[in-house]
Symmetry: C2
Subunit: 238 residues, 2 copies
Amino acid sequence: MDFSHIRAMTFDVFGTVVDWRGSIISEGENVWTAKGVNVDWPQFADSWRGGYGPSMNRVRTGELPWMNIDALHRLILDDLLEQHQIAGLAESDRDHLNKVWHRLNPWPDVTSALARLRKRYIVASLSNGNVALLVNMARHGGYCWDCVLSAELAGHYKPDPEVYQTAASLLGLRPHEVMMVAAHNGDLMASKQVGFSTAFVHRPREFGPNQTTDLVPDASVDIVAKDFNDLADRLGIP
Amino acid sequence: MDFSHIRAMTFDVFGTVVDWRGSIISEGENVWTAKGVNVDWPQFADSWRGGYGPSMNRVRTGELPWMNIDALHRLILDDLLEQHQIAGLAESDRDHLNKVWHRLNPWPDVTSALARLRKRYIVASLSNGNVALLVNMARHGGYCWDCVLSAELAGHYKPDPEVYQTAASLLGLRPHEVMMVAAHNGDLMASKQVGFSTAFVHRPREFGPNQTTDLVPDASVDIVAKDFNDLADRLGIP
């Protein structure tokens, strides 16, 4: 296939760039259990993430006004702590725990492969995570985006088309000049509807050992890669 | 002074980070004279820049709807080409000439000093330049922002307070946690009104050998530096 028209690559972040589940389990077990958040961390991480889609949908339908991901994550966290009857956590600790989502670790291929990709393409995040979260996460993980793009800048959550349209517009590009990279078919399909090219990257352990979703790319994706280095190889970047 | 509360540094770009005048003169004389734009390039650069403030004010007052800097630069360019009776330039050339503002070169201290500052602080642009312009310019100059912030994201031009407020908000910070860095007192004073700390950097040749503006920092600035490396020294960053 001919990708000579591509100028920028926009990356889904949660699960595609970073291992949210492993990072939360690790910080939870190493830091928060001792502070009184004595829970089954794999289950807690899954529940926290499980609230993500429904909470964004409450914004999408207008039930909630625009709230960024930090704020939505906090609503879900407050509920979970109550369900687990963890009442004694000070506000500053709750806030810091909520911002574990700013400290998620990249998959091992990411840092070197993003540097390769940046030699040829504008490399940007395109995440439902808010700008501050993405900035802090990139600094934590030791990689740099040419541009931090977020649902927050569009006032809409993926997979709403406005997110992809805003991304292309802010980069000064037409949709066909942008390639969306994600481990999730829904995200890629929505970007393709707006005119983006698509690259599926396998992240079969994003949801742990029992993952059932996004194990196989949709037939319509333009590139399939096993990680970001394989993606760079397939695009012919040294 | 105590700067321990600072988490992020936001940088004015035109003149503070990049030498717009020298870059435009250089590309003009080396590329565009041969293509028929046979003008006095120092004068042309000064005139083009001279239209910048007035054009943003036409947006501020509502005379023009929101237009980003690429669009405003183009209005000024079209006027200048007409004044100089240069009619034969194809649209693709006009567009490429207009985007010389995406190819401005950083002052010599910038690339190494931004890398030093990024070790301790979130380092972001905060420019009237639009996002695409800033992204392309950083790639051209070989430096990377933790976050590209622009008037375009606020729908207002500096020195409107909304620009600084939006910047702090997107970074998840309160204004007093942000330090504005600029070679221009007006920008620094406006950021201080919103609660930012301020750092004046001397760029006495920004407007060429006959510069009369911003040669001396306002008495209220918090740090004065002769360039970005001096700024890093004064903040105690190795």
